[in-house]
């Protein structure tokens, strides 16, 4: 459970987003409150159209809320300009998109290093960080390849490496294992677990319940509102491994 003493990294109150056009008004997010302490791993699940991605995009500054407030590390950010948001994303927030958005005419290595450089790393630091991340994601052999030469699973992992290049205090990810095979999903899951263990906060949207069950907290979204918010420590009583194994017969 999260104690009050833990610092809040992200706080959203009364967040709404309504899309309108052609006389049709579509409320996508309808009053979401959210608190994410430093270092917490939160998964958001829900059917398509429940507002998951819209919520994530608002929290990453890609979509402006219709109403409500977003506070990041004590600073109110919902009204920031696109340019200020870009700076925030470069330095404090890693964002993994559902469709990678890699720079296609740069190598895999350069894609990752660029993100580190833009986050303020020296060339040497950026290189070291890139090597570390690609090795962790079993991509070291692909460092000099063009992203388009890679499989979907590999591209997704590069996108993740890029988002983590500047060690953001908050990682936002939209379906990071969407369309990945089981082995690639496991690699992504491993990297998320390592990032989480090193104190990074993670907020991700996922259909993959294997990913969701790895989180500290699972939030269920339905019709733009939170219908359940549950700490995994409540639903899963961790048993020492020998006990799990002894359950047989």
């Amino acid at each position: 459970m999260i104690g009050d003493s833990q610092r809040l990294l992200l706080r959203a109150t009364g967040l709404t987003k309504t899309f309108s056009g052609d006389g049709v008004v579509l409320p996508a997010v309808r009053g979401v409150d959210l608190r994410v302490p430093q270092g917490e791993f939160v998964a958001i699940t829900g059917p398509s159209g429940s507002g998951k991605s819209t919520l994530l995009h608002m929290l990453g500054g890609l979509e402006r809320p219709t109403s409500g407030e977003i506070w990041l590390d004590g600073q109110r950010v919902d009204g920031l300009s696109q340019a200020r948001w870009a700076v925030l994303r470069r330095r404090h927030i890693g964002f993994v998109f559902q469709f990678f958005n890699l720079v296609s005419n740069m190598t895999v290595a350069d894609n990752v290093e660029l993100a580190a450089l833009m986050g303020g790393a020296t060339r040497r630091q950026a290189q070291a960080r890139r090597q570390e991340l690609l090795a962790e994601l079993d991509l070291a052999a692909k460092a000099d390849a063009a992203p388009t030469r890679l499989s979907g699973g590999e591209q997704q992992r590069v996108a993740l490496a890029r988002a983590m290049a500047n060690k953001p205090s908050l990682l936002l990810a939209d379906e990071p294992t969407g369309n990945l095979d089981s082995a690639s999903s496991s690699a992504v899951l491993r990297l998320l677990a390592n990032a989480h263990a090193s104190g990074q906060a993670i907020l991700l949207v996922t259909h993959d319940s294997r990913v969701a069950s790895a989180a500290d907290r699972v939030i269920s979204l339905f019709d733009g509102t939170v219908v359940d918010d549950v700490p995994m420590s409540v639903v899963h009583t961790p048993m020492p491994l020998p006990d799990v194994l002894r359950l047989r017969g």
Binding site: P47, S209, V227, D228, M232, V235, H236, L247
Partner: protein, 193 residues
């Protein structure tokens, strides 16, 4: 804890279709026949072979269940046994497959297996709870989802420490079934809440 074991059993031996042929031991019959098709063996050997193949992913029956099942198989003419005299230890009873046993095994292997479950306990509750007048479908779904997520965590933890192939595949199967259950829960929520 109990639910955890039940969940694992669900995706494996055919435990249902033979309720008429006799009790809890039935799920053990085909695995034992299959092991005996390779070579004659006694009860403890069969137990340790099962453990070796399925590892931590499957609850191995205790030795008592194995002996009871062997006796029933013998009664039905599918195996036969004889006592083997051992110099320094008590006699052991060695079982071997009969022709009828081999036939039963082959016909089990050739038969297609049961498809997905169509009658789900939770689904029955979800539909019938309306009758009680105290129905809170969203609450029911949320509770069930929490439960599944907890099981999912147990299984992924188990998968992370399981390296041998057969147990790993068995756990992966259970994870996929559970994922489907969670997806279905979401569909129920979309349609019924």
């Amino acid at each position: 804890m109990h639910g955890y074991v039940t969940m694992k059993i669900r995706c494996c031996w055919p435990a249902r279709q033979q309720a008429s042929t006799g009790g809890r031991g039935y799920a053990m019959r085909m695995p034992l026949l299959a092991l005996l098709a390779k070579e004659p063996a006694h009860g403890y050997e069969l137990k340790s072979q099962l453990e070796q193949i399925f590892g931590e992913a499957y609850p191995t029956p205790n030795i008592g269940q194995i002996y009871v099942t062997l006796q029933r198989l013998e009664r039905d003419g599918l195996v036969q046994s004889q006592d083997v005299v051992q110099a320094t230890r008590p006699n052991k009873r060695v079982y071997e497959l009969t022709g009828a046993g081999r036939e039963a095994l082959l016909s089990w292997i050739d038969r297609t297996s049961e498809g997905p479950r169509v009658r789900d306990d939770f689904f029955m509750k979800l539909v019938l709870s309306q009758m009680s007048g105290t129905s809170d479908r969203l609450g029911l779904i949320n509770r069930q989802r929490r439960h599944y997520l907890g099981q999912m965590r147990s299984l992924t933890d188990l998968a992370a420490v399981t390296s041998s192939q057969i147990p790993r595949l068995l756990i992966e199967g259970a994870i996929l079934h559970l994922q489907a259950d969670l997806d279905w829960l979401q569909r129920c929520q979309e349609e019924l809440v």
